[in-house]
């Protein structure tokens, strides 16, 4: 089309619709594949891509990808170009997905299944991109499928192994516990194979590790899909449905001392104080437990009231990456409160609270809540 180029067209409203990437993890045999197949058949009017196996690892030139469309599945190939992986901001795999979509059209969802032994943390970091990159994909959340029949045994075994020597590097942590800790949604599968009493025990074990994740019991992974898709787990934080959790105090280290702590403070704070506190925790390891072991944070979510600001500040963190962003406005009669939820190892609630109070002072108060 040659030179009608001087005619400036009218701008149209921007449609920014990146595609959600859902990471599905869990031990071997927990039911990930069952879940995937269920999603693909139930959502047969949507175009869903399923990527199997490891992501962000190895130097494979291609990864196979299955696309579910109108009830059928067909294979595609993700070309992982062997170009510069080094100083590239986007992972090779992310670029490969974007290229594929440019060529073959967009998907409605991308489901990424990690193998049973994988740690979903690094994969989440790969997909939690800066908005400035304008990527076609975004991280919707992590779903962990848990095998009700075996999970307690698996967690116990991992704990025993971890207790025998104190692991120094995070890479030696028991993967099953990590998969639970990083989940935004826990699908407790095979509930038909355990008794109600056992089910309760399993629930408490899971919630003790991760108090922030929603928990869906199921058998054969037949879940209500509205509860799995569109989690937006890295964008919004829903505190209304969270239960307050406490770490197991002192000596009995269930599940390698992986646990959840929540902190709450009425009043407003300064954004930079909160960010300094979080950066200190994540990068500087400024807080330790009673035995001097530094906090190792796996996941954080928070909502803060910032002084002089009508909107809530949302905080998200996974691994060492964190971000804060303003979201919806406070309701007129809603008390302004700052709430943080921490999931990780060596969490000591009193130590965390102390550090929080000293680093993040309440600058002004709203309502009649006294400190």
């Amino acid at each position: 089309m040659s030179d009608e180029e001087d005619f400036v067209p009218d701008l149209v409203p921007a449609q920014y619709a990146p595609i959600p990437v859902l990471i599905i993890t869990g031990c071997l045999g927990a039911g990930k594949t069952t879940l995937l197949n269920y999603i693909l058949t139930e959502q047969h009017h949507k175009r869903i891509a399923v990527i199997l196996n490891e992501f962000g690892e190895g130097s494979a030139m291609e990864k196979s990808l299955s696309i579910g469309e109108e009830g059928n599945m067909y294979e595609e190939w993700l070309e992982l170009r062997n170009g510069c992986l080094c100083c590239s901001v986007k992972d090779n795999g992310v670029k490969a997905i974007e290229n594929l979509m440019q060529k073959r059209g967009r998907f409605d969802y991308i489901l990424l299944e990690t193998t049973g032994l994988a740690d979903p943390g690094p994969v989440a970091s790969i997909f939690w991109l800066d908005k400035e990159l304008g990527s076609d994909v975004y991280l919707d959340g992590i779903v962990t499928v848990v095998d009700a029949k075996n999970i307690v045994k698996t967690l116990d075994e991992a704990t025993e192994e971890a207790m025998s020597e104190e692991p120094a590097e995070q890479s030696t942590l028991g993967t099953p516990a990590r998969q639970v800790a990083l989940a935004d949604l826990l699908i407790l599968n095979k509930t038909d194979l355990v008794t109600p009493a056992e089910l309760d025990e399993i629930r408490s074990r899971l919630v003790a590790i991760n108090g922030a994740a929603a928990l869906l019991p199921t058998s054969r992974c037949r879940v209500d899909l509205d509860k799995i898709l569109d989690l937006h787990a890295y964008e919004k934080v829903d505190f209304k449905s969270l239960e307050k959790q406490f770490t197991v105090p002192g000596g009995s280290h269930i599940d390698q001392s992986l646990g959840t702590v929540t902190l709450e403070r009425p009043g407003s704070v300064r954004r930079r104080d909160l960010e300094s506190f979080v950066h200190g925790l994540l990068w500087e390891k400024t807080v330790a437990d009673r035995r001097g072991r530094p906090v190792h944070m796996l996941r954080m979510k928070g909502m803060a009231s910032v002084v002089g600001e009508e909107r809530r500040l949302i905080l998200q963190a996974v691994g060492e990456i964190c971000d804060t962003e303003f979201a919806s406005r406070w309701e007129p009669d809603e008390p302004h409160v700052t709430r943080l939820i921490f999931i990780g190892r060596h969490l000591d609630e009193s130590r965390l609270d102390e550090a929080f109070r000293s680093t993040v002072p309440v600058v002004s108060e709203h309502q009649s809540d006294a400190v």
Binding site: M1, E5, V8, P9, D10, L11, V12, P13, A14, Q15, Y16, G56, E57, G58, S59, R81, N82, G83, C84, L85, C86, C87, S88, V89, K90, Q102, P122, S125, I126, W128, D130, K131, E132, L133, G134, H232, E235, H279, L282, W283, E284, G319, E320, I321, C322, D323, E325, F326, A327
Partner: protein, 372 residues
Amino acid sequence: MTDGRVCETPACNKSASLQCPTCLKNNLPPTFFCSQECFKSSWKDHKAVHKKAEKRDSDRYNPWPKYFFTGALRPFPVSPKREVPESIPRTDYADHPKGVPISEQKVRGSAYIKPLDDEEVEGMRVACRLGREVLEEAAAAVSVGTTTDHIDRIVHEACIERECYPSPLNYYQFPKSCCTSVNEVICHGIPDARPLQSGDICNVDVTVYHRGFHGDLNETYLVGEVSAEARDLVTVTWQCLQKAIDIVRPGEKYREIGNVVQKHASERGYSVVRSYCGHGIHRLFHCSPNVPHYARNKAAGVMRPGHCFTIEPMISQGTWRDEQWPDNWTAVTADGKLSAQFEHTLLVTETGVDVLTKREGTTLPRFLDSSS
């Protein structure tokens, strides 16, 4: 969900909720603008991304007949792989069939930034000084008529003379010993048989591996008579690097670098390339930290004494977007306009920063140094 959309017009930076209908219609990546007025003002430049495939020159060397080039630059034949004598210690990827750096893969995804001890710092000082010497030799050869392949040969031989392995060689199968990026090429240009022309801007990026450590640096050079616009872009790019270096000290956050670079670039009407970033460097060519050059990034980590990393802003005249040639390396601006870059390897000291790859005797880059 807030989406951080910012107006495409290079200096604008306002929040953008409107998009170009032509990009949408032609299945190009969506481009966002803050207002019709702003869009009109940058229309002349923006429409470059809409251009359809042009007539192909069938008698010229064209390895990718279907590829639509964003600018005027074309690839030329690449010479055979150059060898490095066995006596020079090699990197782990030098002899890997796919050029994979196993040592880097091991720590991939880790955000841990290693503070170097005194001995390691000394190793870095030497490698960076040698890297600077190699770059200066290459710079002396940059002139009208010289091919980028010739520059590569000079770099290759200069490395060998100094008992260095040229780090880019075979890194993920990169075919040459340095990167030469001309005009609209943002970075990772592969040296080839194209002679430099008067008016070109040419970046030469050298990394050397000496006794276990890498030193990484680059400069953009002006070839012959260069336009005032090109010269301004190169100058501002260099200033962006300087301003970023000025904030390096213990306690500073790595994510702040991008804020400083983008602020200066947009004030002067330019955009910041987002796809490539600075990186940690020592025994590994590329490792933590990640140092994006755009504002509001999520880079993790705080600077501490002993940290070694590069800052290497790529600044473009037009859009920030980049594309890749089918050679899987050459990164070009999506609109074919010019892009410049400068890079140093830095060491965080107790009180501030040490520029390990600095030029001897002057703080000026070559293009500003009339004595060169």
